[in-house]
Symmetry: C2
Subunit: 247 residues, 2 copies
């Protein structure tokens, strides 16, 4: 498998020859997408701007929910923010969700050209690995925060790289994969039963985690650190807009 990691979407383009692009925005877009689809949501329609989200809602059926954040906070007039806690079954089951976030939906747009696209979080790490196993070329795209590298996304990329190393023959493109894997090994490599607690602590040390704590969302760190809580992979099922569901 040819494996590319980009620590930011801007570092290198996702090529149209890429079998699977994996979008990573641990805090919190891809954790929210995993949670909501596992809890029975029908689909996520993603877009980059708030205006675009509102327009999409008008052309879509009445049952749609407007979801997302700006600077970690809910958007005026939207139904849901960007905390996994908001996406329980009773709220999202069978619903179409329109999502716009600061960084996650930008990374999704940047990965647009790949043949297939999936969303990864710690919540569905093992399920994503099963999905990737047979691909010839994979590109992990870390969303980052406002154009800057964030450790929480790099950490998940590193976990994926590390697990792929033990499963398939890897050809790495660029050095980003090496950096990510070393961070994962240094921070989380030992495993053990307290893994989720240690990961929660590491997320709190990351730029994305510090940003969330600053605006009062510290409880979301543990919600995004529950490794393999769900067995679903959000996968792009349509483009224009990029729409994710469970295949």
């Amino acid at each position: 498998m040819q494996l590319t990691v980009s620590l930011l979407p801007s570092i290198r383009p996702v090529l149209s020859t890429t079998d699977v692009a994996v979008v990573i925005d641990v805090l919190r877009a891809t954790s929210v997408m995993t949670t909501a689809l596992a809890n029975g949501a029908k689909e996520f329609l993603t877009c980059q701007s708030v205006d675009e989200a509102r327009e999409l809602a008008q052309t879509h059926d009445a049952d749609v929910l407007l979801c997302g954040e700006r600077h970690c906070k809910p958007i005026d007039g939207f139904d849901l923010g960007n905390s996994p806690a908001e996406y329980s079954s009773d709220v999202v089951q069978y619903r179409s969700l329109i999502l716009t976030t600061t960084n996650g939906t930008f990374a999704i747009a940047a990965a647009q050209n790949a043949r297939a696209m999936v969303a990864a979080s710690f919540l569905n790490l093992s399920a994503v690995l099963v999905r990737l196993r047979d691909a010839d070329s994979v590109h992990l795209v870390c969303a980052g925060t406002n154009g800057e590298i964030t450790a929480e996304d790099v950490l998940l990329a590193g976990a994926i790289v590390d697990r792929l190393f033990s499963e398939v023959n890897l050809e790495l493109v660029g050095d980003d994969a090496i950096l990510a894997r070393e961070l994962w090994t240094a921070w989380m490599g030992e495993g053990g039963s307290d893994q989720n607690e240690r990961l929660t602590q590491r997320l709190a040390e990351s730029q994305g985690g510090r940003n969330l704590i600053d605006v009062g969302y510290e409880a979301d760190l543990a919600r995004c650190a529950a490794i393999d809580l769900f067995d679903v992979v959000p996968e792009r099922v349509a483009t224009t807009p990029n729409t994710f569901g469970i295949l």
Copy 2:
């Protein structure tokens, strides 16, 4: 000390409030600058384009040498390439050198706004640390390779971060510094008498190292891995063009 690391020049601007910007292009621009100034060169005038270098040479005194590379290779009509081996005392002593390289001189231009600018390599690691010790704000700028992150530059940034941690009270801006330090600790943290040999091996594994090996410059890896071989710090002594000498 407020410490910022950018794994690429493009990730965040170097602010005019920055006390010292540290430009890092281990393979090979900043290693060449360190070597040549230690061997008695008068100054380095840096510029981004080959045409600009030729124009500078015409307006400068006759004793100037044209230096640099494109895609790791010497430039047609230039006096010296980008291998430290070419910058011996008998060649460079008392000479003004005009340098243009693919990535290093780009990083220098990106760091332009800082109050002071120095060039770091493994060859002058300890000397750079002495220079930084009393600064209030420091920004390490990794040159990378053709817009992509390269492990060899991140590794030196990590070495600087790690040493600063043990010497001063650090406030980190962004997560790049954490990634760099973890790479240094994982790859080189144990120290020991075979340090330069291990570093040479690590440089060979990096993107910049692989690029050099591909075009026949493998011997330069050891030349750039001789930690603390020199006790000089190339420092910007003039702008327009950015000119480096020993203060």
